[in-house]
Amino acid sequence: MTRRLSRSVIEPVNPKLNVSRNANLPHSPGIRVGEYIFLSGMGPVDPITGGRNLGPIAEQIRQTLRNMAHMLESGGSGLDRIVKINIVLGDIQHYDEMNRVWREFFPVDPPARTTCALQLSNGNGVEIECIALGAANIPESR
Protein backbone atom coordinates (compact mmCIF):
# COMPACT_ATOMS: atom_id res chain seq x y z
CA MET A 1 0.00 0.00 0.00
CA THR A 2 1.87 2.99 -1.29
CA ARG A 3 0.13 6.29 -1.01
CA ARG A 4 1.71 8.99 -3.12
CA LEU A 5 2.40 12.03 -0.94
CA SER A 6 2.04 15.51 -2.33
CA ARG A 7 4.71 18.18 -1.92
CA SER A 8 3.74 21.81 -1.57
CA VAL A 9 5.56 25.02 -0.73
CA ILE A 10 4.65 26.97 2.41
CA GLU A 11 5.28 30.70 2.54
CA PRO A 12 4.86 33.18 5.40
CA VAL A 13 1.74 35.36 5.34
CA ASN A 14 3.97 38.37 6.12
CA PRO A 15 6.01 38.93 2.93
CA LYS A 16 8.78 40.69 4.93
CA LEU A 17 9.60 37.31 6.45
CA ASN A 18 9.93 35.63 3.07
CA VAL A 19 13.72 35.69 3.12
CA SER A 20 14.31 33.40 0.16
CA ARG A 21 12.08 35.53 -2.06
CA ASN A 22 13.38 38.89 -0.81
CA ALA A 23 17.05 37.93 -1.03
CA ASN A 24 16.59 35.75 -4.12
CA LEU A 25 17.88 32.59 -2.44
CA PRO A 26 17.32 29.14 -3.95
CA HIS A 27 15.29 27.64 -1.13
CA SER A 28 11.65 27.54 -0.09
CA PRO A 29 10.67 28.82 3.37
CA GLY A 30 8.93 25.52 4.02
CA ILE A 31 7.72 22.36 2.34
CA ARG A 32 4.72 20.34 3.36
CA VAL A 33 4.79 16.62 2.58
CA GLY A 34 1.81 14.66 3.77
CA GLU A 35 1.27 15.71 7.35
CA TYR A 36 4.83 16.90 7.89
CA ILE A 37 6.21 20.39 7.48
CA PHE A 38 9.94 20.95 6.91
CA LEU A 39 11.11 24.53 7.49
CA SER A 40 14.33 26.06 6.23
CA GLY A 41 16.79 27.49 8.73
CA MET A 42 15.41 30.80 9.99
CA GLY A 43 17.17 33.81 11.48
CA PRO A 44 16.30 36.98 13.38
CA VAL A 45 14.53 38.85 10.60
CA ASP A 46 12.54 41.95 11.58
CA PRO A 47 8.88 41.40 10.59
CA ILE A 48 8.36 45.12 9.89
CA THR A 49 11.51 46.09 7.98
CA GLY A 50 12.61 42.69 6.66
CA GLY A 51 16.15 43.52 7.86
CA ARG A 52 18.18 41.56 10.37
CA ASN A 53 17.92 42.16 14.11
CA LEU A 54 21.48 41.37 15.08
CA GLY A 55 21.22 42.49 18.69
CA PRO A 56 21.74 40.50 21.90
CA ILE A 57 21.56 36.74 21.36
CA ALA A 58 18.50 36.30 23.60
CA GLU A 59 16.56 38.77 21.47
CA GLN A 60 17.82 37.13 18.25
CA ILE A 61 16.52 33.78 19.46
CA ARG A 62 13.16 35.24 20.50
CA GLN A 63 12.78 36.97 17.14
CA THR A 64 13.68 33.79 15.26
CA LEU A 65 11.19 31.69 17.25
CA ARG A 66 8.44 34.30 16.76
CA ASN A 67 9.17 34.15 13.02
CA MET A 68 9.08 30.37 13.14
CA ALA A 69 5.69 30.51 14.89
CA HIS A 70 4.46 32.79 12.09
CA MET A 71 5.78 30.44 9.40
CA LEU A 72 4.16 27.41 11.01
CA GLU A 73 0.87 29.25 11.54
CA SER A 74 0.98 30.29 7.88
CA GLY A 75 0.99 26.56 7.12
CA GLY A 76 -1.79 25.74 9.58
CA SER A 77 0.60 24.43 12.23
CA GLY A 78 2.24 25.98 15.29
CA LEU A 79 5.18 25.82 17.69
CA ASP A 80 3.38 23.18 19.77
CA ARG A 81 3.33 20.88 16.71
CA ILE A 82 7.12 20.84 16.26
CA VAL A 83 8.58 17.36 16.57
CA LYS A 84 12.27 18.04 15.88
CA ILE A 85 14.16 21.28 16.01
CA ASN A 86 17.79 22.09 15.24
CA ILE A 87 19.51 25.15 16.62
CA VAL A 88 22.73 26.40 15.15
CA LEU A 89 24.47 29.02 17.23
CA GLY A 90 27.28 31.22 16.02
CA ASP A 91 28.98 30.72 19.39
CA ILE A 92 28.46 27.72 21.68
CA GLN A 93 29.09 30.07 24.65
CA HIS A 94 25.47 31.16 24.18
CA TYR A 95 24.15 27.67 24.96
CA ASP A 96 22.91 28.41 28.49
CA GLU A 97 21.28 31.67 27.48
CA MET A 98 19.58 29.90 24.58
CA ASN A 99 18.16 27.35 27.02
CA ARG A 100 16.74 30.13 29.21
CA VAL A 101 14.93 31.71 26.27
CA TRP A 102 13.86 28.28 25.05
CA ARG A 103 11.70 27.68 28.13
CA GLU A 104 9.65 30.79 27.37
CA PHE A 105 8.53 29.27 24.08
CA PHE A 106 8.40 25.56 24.97
CA PRO A 107 7.20 25.32 28.59
CA VAL A 108 5.76 21.78 28.32
CA ASP A 109 6.56 18.73 26.18
CA PRO A 110 9.30 20.49 24.20
CA PRO A 111 10.37 19.10 20.82
CA ALA A 112 13.34 16.77 20.32
CA ARG A 113 16.33 19.01 19.76
CA THR A 114 19.95 19.18 18.66
CA THR A 115 22.20 22.18 19.23
CA CYS A 116 25.61 22.96 17.82
CA ALA A 117 27.72 25.93 16.79
CA LEU A 118 28.73 26.46 13.16
CA GLN A 119 29.61 29.34 10.85
CA LEU A 120 26.41 31.14 9.90
CA SER A 121 25.44 33.44 7.02
CA ASN A 122 24.54 37.13 7.21
CA GLY A 123 26.17 37.63 10.61
CA ASN A 124 23.35 35.72 12.30
CA GLY A 125 24.01 34.68 15.88
CA VAL A 126 21.46 31.92 15.54
CA GLU A 127 19.66 29.88 12.91
CA ILE A 128 16.82 27.49 13.70
CA GLU A 129 15.14 24.85 11.50
CA CYS A 130 12.40 22.39 12.34
CA ILE A 131 10.15 19.54 11.33
CA ALA A 132 6.55 19.92 12.50
CA LEU A 133 3.23 18.24 12.10
CA GLY A 134 0.67 20.12 10.09
CA ALA A 135 -2.97 20.11 10.85
CA ALA A 136 -4.99 17.68 8.81
CA ASN A 137 -7.65 18.73 6.32
CA ILE A 138 -5.79 21.73 4.95
CA PRO A 139 -6.61 22.03 1.27
CA GLU A 140 -3.51 21.56 -0.86
CA SER A 141 -2.60 24.82 -2.56
CA ARG A 142 -1.16 23.16 -5.64
Partner: protein, 132 residues
Protein backbone atom coordinates in the same frame (compact mmCIF):
# COMPACT_ATOMS: atom_id res chain seq x y z
CA UNK B 1 -7.35 12.66 11.46
CA UNK B 2 -4.50 14.66 12.77
CA UNK B 3 -1.29 12.86 13.61
CA UNK B 4 -0.57 12.46 17.28
CA UNK B 5 2.59 13.87 18.84
CA UNK B 6 3.92 11.76 21.73
CA UNK B 7 6.86 12.50 24.02
CA UNK B 8 9.19 9.52 24.50
CA UNK B 9 11.34 9.14 27.62
CA UNK B 10 13.98 6.39 27.95
CA UNK B 11 13.12 3.59 30.36
CA UNK B 12 16.42 4.01 32.21
CA UNK B 13 16.06 7.52 33.68
CA UNK B 14 19.86 7.93 33.55
CA UNK B 15 19.53 8.43 29.79
CA UNK B 16 16.90 11.15 30.21
CA UNK B 17 19.04 14.17 29.38
CA UNK B 18 16.17 16.59 29.75
CA UNK B 19 15.80 15.49 33.37
CA UNK B 20 19.40 14.89 34.39
CA UNK B 21 20.97 17.82 32.59
CA UNK B 22 17.88 19.99 33.11
CA UNK B 23 17.45 20.77 29.43
CA UNK B 24 14.24 22.04 27.81
CA UNK B 25 13.98 19.23 25.27
CA UNK B 26 12.30 15.85 24.93
CA UNK B 27 14.55 12.84 24.35
CA UNK B 28 12.35 11.90 21.44
CA UNK B 29 9.00 12.62 19.84
CA UNK B 30 6.89 10.04 18.06
CA UNK B 31 4.83 11.48 15.20
CA UNK B 32 3.05 9.19 12.80
CA UNK B 33 5.37 6.58 11.34
CA UNK B 34 8.52 8.31 12.58
CA UNK B 35 10.49 8.86 15.75
CA UNK B 36 12.61 11.98 16.03
CA UNK B 37 15.44 11.67 18.55
CA UNK B 38 17.33 14.59 20.06
CA UNK B 39 21.08 14.81 19.71
CA UNK B 40 22.37 12.23 22.19
CA UNK B 41 25.71 12.68 23.91
CA UNK B 42 27.80 10.18 25.89
CA UNK B 43 25.98 9.58 29.17
CA UNK B 44 27.16 7.60 32.17
CA UNK B 45 24.40 4.96 32.54
CA UNK B 46 24.71 4.92 36.35
CA UNK B 47 24.91 8.63 37.17
CA UNK B 48 23.15 10.17 34.16
CA UNK B 49 25.93 12.71 33.85
CA UNK B 50 27.89 13.53 30.74
CA UNK B 51 30.82 11.19 30.10
CA UNK B 52 33.97 12.65 28.68
CA UNK B 53 36.43 10.46 26.83
CA UNK B 54 37.94 9.78 23.45
CA UNK B 55 35.81 10.19 20.35
CA UNK B 56 35.65 6.39 20.12
CA UNK B 57 34.41 6.08 23.71
CA UNK B 58 31.92 8.93 23.38
CA UNK B 59 30.59 7.54 20.10
CA UNK B 60 29.94 4.21 21.79
CA UNK B 61 28.12 5.75 24.75
CA UNK B 62 26.10 8.12 22.58
CA UNK B 63 24.95 5.22 20.38
CA UNK B 64 24.04 3.19 23.47
CA UNK B 65 21.97 6.14 24.69
CA UNK B 66 20.37 6.51 21.26
CA UNK B 67 19.49 2.80 21.22
CA UNK B 68 17.89 3.14 24.67
CA UNK B 69 15.67 5.99 23.55
CA UNK B 70 14.63 4.19 20.37
CA UNK B 71 13.82 1.03 22.29
CA UNK B 72 11.68 3.00 24.74
CA UNK B 73 9.70 4.10 21.70
CA UNK B 74 9.33 0.54 20.44
CA UNK B 75 11.92 1.08 17.74
CA UNK B 76 15.61 0.22 17.46
CA UNK B 77 18.87 1.13 15.72
CA UNK B 78 17.98 -1.24 12.88
CA UNK B 79 14.97 0.97 12.14
CA UNK B 80 17.00 4.18 11.90
CA UNK B 81 16.53 5.85 8.52
CA UNK B 82 18.70 8.96 8.89
CA UNK B 83 21.43 9.77 11.37
CA UNK B 84 23.41 12.96 11.83
CA UNK B 85 26.70 12.78 13.67
CA UNK B 86 28.37 15.90 15.04
CA UNK B 87 31.98 15.62 16.12
CA UNK B 88 34.18 18.34 17.56
CA UNK B 89 36.92 17.74 14.99
CA UNK B 90 36.76 16.13 11.57
CA UNK B 91 40.28 14.82 12.20
CA UNK B 92 38.51 12.25 14.40
CA UNK B 93 36.25 11.04 11.58
CA UNK B 94 37.88 7.61 11.32
CA UNK B 95 37.86 7.10 15.09
CA UNK B 96 34.10 7.70 15.11
CA UNK B 97 33.54 5.40 12.13
CA UNK B 98 35.39 2.47 13.67
CA UNK B 99 32.97 2.33 16.59
CA UNK B 100 29.97 3.39 14.53
CA UNK B 101 30.24 0.43 12.16
CA UNK B 102 29.98 -2.02 15.09
CA UNK B 103 26.45 -0.74 15.74
CA UNK B 104 25.35 -0.87 12.10
CA UNK B 105 26.87 -4.05 10.61
CA UNK B 106 24.52 -4.18 7.62
CA UNK B 107 22.20 -1.85 5.74
CA UNK B 108 23.26 1.13 7.85
CA UNK B 109 21.05 4.22 7.81
CA UNK B 110 21.83 7.19 5.59
CA UNK B 111 24.06 9.57 7.45
CA UNK B 112 25.69 12.99 7.53
CA UNK B 113 28.76 13.84 9.61
CA UNK B 114 29.81 17.37 10.38
CA UNK B 115 32.48 18.99 12.52
CA UNK B 116 30.94 21.45 14.99
CA UNK B 117 31.26 23.07 18.39
CA UNK B 118 29.14 21.11 20.87
CA UNK B 119 27.65 21.98 24.24
CA UNK B 120 28.91 20.77 27.60
CA UNK B 121 32.34 19.80 26.34
CA UNK B 122 31.00 16.76 24.49
CA UNK B 123 33.07 15.53 21.56
CA UNK B 124 30.28 13.59 19.87
CA UNK B 125 26.55 14.13 19.48
CA UNK B 126 24.27 11.83 17.45
CA UNK B 127 20.68 12.44 16.40
CA UNK B 128 18.34 10.25 14.45
CA UNK B 129 15.07 9.83 12.59
CA UNK B 130 13.77 6.28 12.79
CA UNK B 131 10.69 4.31 11.90
CA UNK B 132 8.34 3.86 14.82
Amino acid sequence: MTLQRDVIAPKNPAFDMSRNLNLPLSSAIRAGAFIFVSGMVAIDPSSGERMHGTVAAETRQALIALAQVLEAAGSSLTKAVKINVLIYSMLEYNNMNEVYREFFPDEPPSRTVCGARLSGGSKVEIECIALA
